[in-house]
């Protein structure tokens, strides 16, 4: 008999455990936040929000533009560390 995995509920206070690795990718690509902002068309303020894990949601259009500009995959940009 297989056990069903425990139900996964979204964090009740709206926060999430998604970690953004934008700073690591920028360093690896030798790019600044301002340069990235010019390439993807997202403001430096919003990119800073994303980089500091303060974003609550990311549009697919933004994600696509970031992956194109940084030549990476979504999994390179974001990860979810284990709970606890």
């Amino acid at each position: 008999m297989t056990r069903r995995p425990a139900a996964v509920r979204p964090e009740e206070d709206g926060a999430s455990r998604v970690a953004c690795h934008l700073d690591r990718l920028l360093e690896a690509r030798g790019m600044t936040l301002v340069e990235l902002s010019d390439r993807v068309g997202v403001s430096v303020v919003n990119l800073s929000v994303l980089k500091n894990d303060r974003a609550r949601a990311v549009r697919f259009s933004t994600l696509t533009a970031l992956c194109d500009a940084l030549d990476c995959q979504p999994g390179d940009l974001f990860s979810v560390p284990p709970q606890g």
Partner: protein, 212 residues
């Protein structure tokens, strides 16, 4: 890099949303001052006046206006008249101003609330948390001005006519008549719908906050 510019005429525009709230604030203050001053002023008078409707319907009254071309005439087709009593008790004197006070309070509250809503629009925060409540309050002010004021006029007129012993069978005036329009109800409903739209807009804005 391709740069696109869009020119879009926005109503009422930044100038409108910055000037109009200031004007509305002045209107609100003036209306509030008058709402307080008029009853006090009426107390200094010996009498007062109310709007009455002659029992015979008034009919059309031909007016003798000089300089009219041949074949042109002017008639007064209004059914209402103004009754002025030179002596009234203090309570009734103040009461004659009650419809005007209610109307001025409706104007003061409505202008203030509308001004606050437009201020938040000008500041770039149209879905301010307080705007749904303000719009609901504006709807109430419209109902006050559109429905309560005419009703109050009828009640006050009846009270004055009763004091002057001009009510009852054989009276020259209709004892209680008021005209209610559905326009204020329609406007209030529209404002209530707008309040709900602003509430939902706030909820959507909360959902989008932090989205990049």
């Amino acid at each position: 890099m391709f740069c696109s510019m869009s020119t879009q005429l926005r109503f009422p525009g930044r100038t409108g949303t910055s000037v109009v709230p200031a004007v509305l604030l002045v209107v609100a203050v003036v209306a509030l001052v008058l709402a307080v001053a008029l009853p006090i002023d009426q107390l200094t008078q010996s009498g007062g006046s109310v709007t009455v409707t002659p029992a015979d319907g008034g009919g059309e009254r031909s007016l003798d206006v000089a300089g009219l071309p041949e074949g042109v005439s002017v008639v007064d087709a209004t059914a209402e008249a103004r009754l002025t009593a030179s002596e009234l008790p203090a309570g009734l004197r103040v009461l004659t101003e009650l419809p005007t006070v209610f109307a001025l309070l409706a104007v003061a509250v409505g202008a203030w609330l509308l001004g606050r809503v437009l201020s938040t629009v000008h500041a770039g925060h149209p879905f301010d948390r307080r705007n749904p409540g303000r719009l609901a309050g504006l709807a109430a002010a419209v109902l006050l001005g559109g429905l309560v004021v005419p009703l109050t006029e009828g009640i006050v007129t009846t009270a004055v006519l009763d004091h002057l012993d001009l009510v009852g069978p054989g009276s020259a005036f209709l004892s209680f008549e008021t005209t209610l329009s559905f326009v204020p109800v329609g406007v209030a409903l529209a404002l209530t719908a707008a309040a709900e739209a602003f509430r939902r807009g706030r909820a959507l804005e909360d959902e989008l906050e932090g989205t990049v």
